[in-house]
């Protein structure tokens, strides 16, 4: 019988400090990483060129405020997320960017005292009206810490696909979808020989790509990423950044990041948040070179962080 007693978090009404999660020591497997063929790093200007000329709005956030108990974590935020673009949420710790991200797929409901006001529209539908399991199939999430399930690689990627259908699908039915997801996530070449290997044996960067494959296996419309590279080494980070740029062709991606350079590298638009407010929203280059708000300028210059 367990002998530890952890104080139940539900007793505290303070918003959980998501942005302060300690960075773990990554499980590295350098040899495997070196053996892979990493995609060439493309020029930043070419990277950010949008393929579509018209913008299709996928997600619209209307005047969202999120409360933990009575304390507001996000205050009156409105923005829109378009197909084919990467939106980066930046800001110092505790500014509410992760809370905002988690509101987009209603993951905040896992916290007992969380509530929100305002609306989020996914392709015109109010997300509160969509059944939560359905919503999360259309809006997928990748977390800061790679969290592959304690199963084989195939089972991980096919996990949600299996659980969704009423009848249990055969492995061969899922194979093409699993292959496609792994290809899109850039992991196919490295694991195709052995899908039954335990996912926990992969290196940190590979695990994160596996989580991305798992998230996109259901062909979601929006992909949410909560600091996906903060637990990884620079090489894996580069691989995943290139991946994000490629993925945005089919999806809309919202990424929370602490790393301003990363935001500059991969994002099309940037939203700067501070203490729950959306301070500035605009095209990346414009926000970084000539921000409208004084606070934005100070944050980017590193006056506070």
């Amino acid at each position: 019988m367990s002998s530890e007693r952890t104080p139940p978090l539900s007793e505290t009404l303070d918003p959980p400090v998501w942005d302060n999660m300690p960075l773990p020591i990554e499980k590295l497997d350098f040899e495997e990483e070196l053996m892979t063929i990493a995609p060439e790093r493309t020029d930043t200007s070419v990277r950010r060129a949008r393929t579509a000329t018209e913008t299709v709005e996928r997600l619209r956030v209307e005047d969202i405020s999120v409360f933990y108990g009575s304390k507001p974590a996000v205050k009156n935020v409105s923005l829109s997320i378009n197909q084919g673009e990467v939106l980066a949420l930046i800001g110092p710790s505790g500014c509410g960017k992760t809370t905002l991200l988690r509101t987009l797929n209603r993951l905040t409901e896992l916290t007992p005292n969380a509530s929100h006001s305002g609306r989020i529209l996914l392709d015109g539908e109010d997300t509160d009206e969509i059944v939560d399991t359905e919503l999360r199939r259309r809006v997928s999430m990748v977390f800061q810490q790679p969290n592959p399930f304690p199963m084989s690689i195939f089972d991980n990627v096919g996990f949600a696909l299996r659980e969704q259908s009423r009848k249990r699908p055969h492995r061969r039915d899922l194979q093409p979808q699993v292959d496609k997801a792994l290809q899109r996530a850039g992991l196919y070449e490295e694991v195709r020989t052995d899908y039954d290997r335990s996912a926990l044996r992969l290196s940190g960067g590979q695990q994160q790509r596996l989580c991305i494959a798992r998230a996109i296996a259901q062909e979601p419309e929006i992909l949410l990423m909560d600091e996906p590279c903060s637990a990884l080494d620079p090489r894996s980070t580069a691989v995943i950044e290139d991946l994000i740029v490629q993925l945005r062709q089919d999806l809309a991606i919202v990424i929370v990041t602490h790393n301003l350079q990363q935001a500059r590298r991969i994002a099309d638009r940037v939203a700067f948040m501070y203490l729950g407010d959306l301070v500035e929203l605009g095209e990346t280059e414009q926000v970084f070179t000539d921000p409208e708000q004084e606070q934005t300028r100070e944050y980017i210059a590193g006056v506070f962080g």
Binding site: S3, P8, N76, D132, D277
Partner: protein, 334 residues
């Protein structure tokens, strides 16, 4: 864009806030999940019902059959239940047995745990000791009782009991107490060991920094820190001793009254035979000699009450006695 002034709270009436949106109702789940939903609720409710039924049953029977004078009268051999006396001897027997058992188990358990955690060299030896405790914990009490019989057959232990005619050994409180301590030992050991492991290293290091030896540190710094764990473990072990029947039935005999072996005070009783609440219940049930269900219920009620009190005590004392099943830090989805 809202201003960055943190004091400008959003002007919203609380009624516009929503806690959560639409969720997938149970009805929409797969049939298998729905079935499990029903089974889980049934199992949980069923367990609560059984527990309540058990306690209520013994409470009712106890109120019916447990007269206060039974607690202070000694049992007597008689044909009818009305004449068969009270349960004072079994109560005293239980207390005596528990005392002997704890007096052996507690120091031994604490000392062993200290050695394993604080010293523990050579490593293979400490692993053997850990395995030994696990084996003791996993051994059925009837096997421990047989071991007791075998052990006290030896001539060297003959002063521990009164020799029976025709046999080389006897049954006594001392013999039963020594063996029943094995039932409490794992509880004390595990509790102390976990408590020692949980004390922060800084505690010991600051004592070493002051120049104290290891043993002095243990005595003055570490042991007081694990007092609560030791108490919890001892209480858990006490509960197990009080509830043990097999060892008592085999090593204490079936006499109703406590019979000292000689007239020496106390030592005579240690060497003598008698009964405890558990053996009394067993013997008065149709499974034993006596057929006195009324008295059995009375003793059973006292026994259950003792166990409940001890359990509640464990919950109050300390670290280990916290919620057996933790409140999760967030309730996911319910």
């Amino acid at each position: 864009m809202a201003s960055a002034n943190p004091l400008a709270a959003p002007q919203l009436s609380p009624s516009r806030r929503r806690r959560r949106g639409r969720r997938a109702p149970v009805r929409s789940w797969r049939a298998r999940d729905q079935a499990l939903f029903v089974i889980a609720w049934t199992a949980g409710a069923g367990l609560c019902v059984c527990a309540a039924a058990l306690v209520i049953f013994f409470a009712v029977q106890g109120i019916q059959y447990l007269h206060p004078d039974l607690l202070v009268t000694r049992p007597s051999v008689a044909a009818t239940q009305a004449m068969s006396g009270g349960i004072l001897d079994p109560i005293l027997g239980t207390v005596l047995l528990a005392a002997i058992g704890l007096l052996i188990a507690a120091p031994l358990g604490v000392v062993s745990a200290i050695w394993v955690v604080e010293y523990g060299r050579p490593r293979w030896l400490s692993r053997i000791v850990e395995s030994a405790v696990e084996i003791i914990a996993g051994t059925p009490d009837i096997v421990l009782a047989i071991f007791g019989l075998a052990l006290f057959e030896l001539g060297v232990f003959s002063p521990f009991s009164l020799a029976e005619p025709g046999g080389a050994f006897g049954r006594s409180f001392l013999n039963a107490g020594i063996i029943v301590s094995a039932v409490a030992l794992p509880s004390v050991y595990t509790a102390t060991r976990n408590g020692l492991i949980a004390t922060p290293r800084q505690l010991r290091e600051s004592s070493y920094a002051l120049g104290k030896t290891r043993i002095a540190t243990i005595r003055r710094v570490v042991l007081p820190a694990v007092r609560r764990d030791v108490a919890t473990g001892a209480t858990l072990g006490l509960g197990r001793i009080i509830g043990d029947t097999a060892i008592v039935v085999l090593l204490l005999g079936a006499t109703l009254r406590n019979q000292p072996a000689s007239n020496t005070p106390f030592i005579g009783l240690l060497r003598g035979t008698g009964s405890t609440l558990t053996s009394y219940v067993f013997n008065n049930s149709p499974a034993g000699d006596g057929n006195a269900p009324d008295k059995a219920y009375a003793a059973a009620a006292v026994l259950l009450l003792l166990v409940v009190l001890l359990n509640w005590g464990v919950g109050r004392i300390g670290r280990i006695g916290g919620p057996l099943i933790h409140e999760p830090s967030r309730r996911l989805g319910a």
